[in-house]
Amino acid sequence: MALFDFFKGKKEGAPAAIFGKADRGILVFENTSEVIQAENILQREGWQIRVMGPPPEILKGCDLVIEFPLIEELNIVRTLGSEKIPPLDVVPVTSPLLQPVDLFHIKDYGRYLMVRAANMKLTVEKETERIVNVSGGGCPDIPYLAYELVGKTLSEAPSPRTIGHTLCGYALQLAYEEVQRQCSV
């Protein structure tokens, strides 16, 4: 289940925790880009994981961590090691992890549609599905993402998760997916 599938799941009704609290651990990485890479690898291998916010004691800044079933630690660390992306640390979960936001705000301007996810807004021209604006955010990849997305159609534009590196980039991915969903109905 991708992080963004997890959000979609949340929209339809909050799922129960995947694992019992005592069974969970978190994988800590150098930066958010590595988290995204590790998430892709572990999902490809079929592991039940999810991307969450770090506990306060290891919070560095613009962070994400991967929550995983602690009993699978050895296999998961070995898998990541073989892919040259070993975690910096593996920590048992001792307190509730932060949940990413999962609420969308949609504004219809007639010719244009804007979707806001967390602090990020994405606006498209409905008829052409051309991305006309990216707004909000505070992490340095947002101007870069805006540069790469604005002026392109939803089918031409790169997915924010493939070129973004921060939590704002993640939020923009959510808005991007919701815009795609809105334009497909």
Binding site: G53, P56, V101, N119, V134, S135, G138, D141, P143
Partner: protein, 309 residues
Amino acid sequence: MLGIVGTVPSETFPLTTGEITLVGDQIRINDAFVAVSRGTPALMAAAAAVSEILGQPPPVAYLIGDIGLGKGSRHLYKFLTEYLPHSPLQTLTFHYLQPIIHWHERLQNSIKTITPKPCLIADAGFMYVAKMSGQSSLYDLFTPDIGELAFLADEEAPHPFYTRGFILHDENRVSELIARAYEHNNAARFLLVKGKKDYLASRDGILEMIDRPAEEALEAMGGTGDTLTGIVSALIDSGIMIEEASVMAMTINRLAGHFANPSPASQVMDIVRHIPRALTDVMKRKDTAVVQKCQKTTSRFTPIRRSSK
């Protein structure tokens, strides 16, 4: 002198410091030209436009390339930590930087050695890290939008991405969100909240609200908050008190937006072009409600002059 700290979306743009001038649709810093699309260049363009009209020295850029990996931001944090104690800056505006808690703390330790303390303004990623670090109260002004205000109000969220759902981004609850942000010491001395309505607030609550002229399309445009932060930074650095500068900036940004006749597809340079006209308009209309509000504000609140920084 106003210093503006931020990033541009490039892996190769080097650490660049120098006076900012607006040349057509670009800002110029020494021999470097940067397109004004959104983000820190938009803030710098707006500040440069205001400074020029006011006859003030151009703002000074501390700019580096960063595409979100934090490499450029770390370099800039390190440079500023060493440079700022010797700088002549009266006003410092921090913008798009990778939020890194330990670097923020080092930078604050460096800023504390500056006498007199500069006026500190934070927006975007640097506002996030100030709040993450629990050091919001060291700042004079934050300029959040409504979503970022909800983040400031959530004492447990380290980033807007984790703002808890029960703290809704609802403009009808602005007063409550402001109170909550101050209750947990997660706000600067003043908050300039950007949105459908713009608010100036302090620990005492909402001080001013500006909602005219109103242009619905501005919410979708990237960079409109950046221009507001740039305008207010330049006004404060010119010697205008924070309360008055904020009310003026909210009005100028809205007027510039109105003059641009925007659609949701408009780009921020469309607004920047109209800032000189909007600023001149606000300054000329001494007898309008806007200026009366400013005068009322300055007489109602304790004056905050340079000496208070």
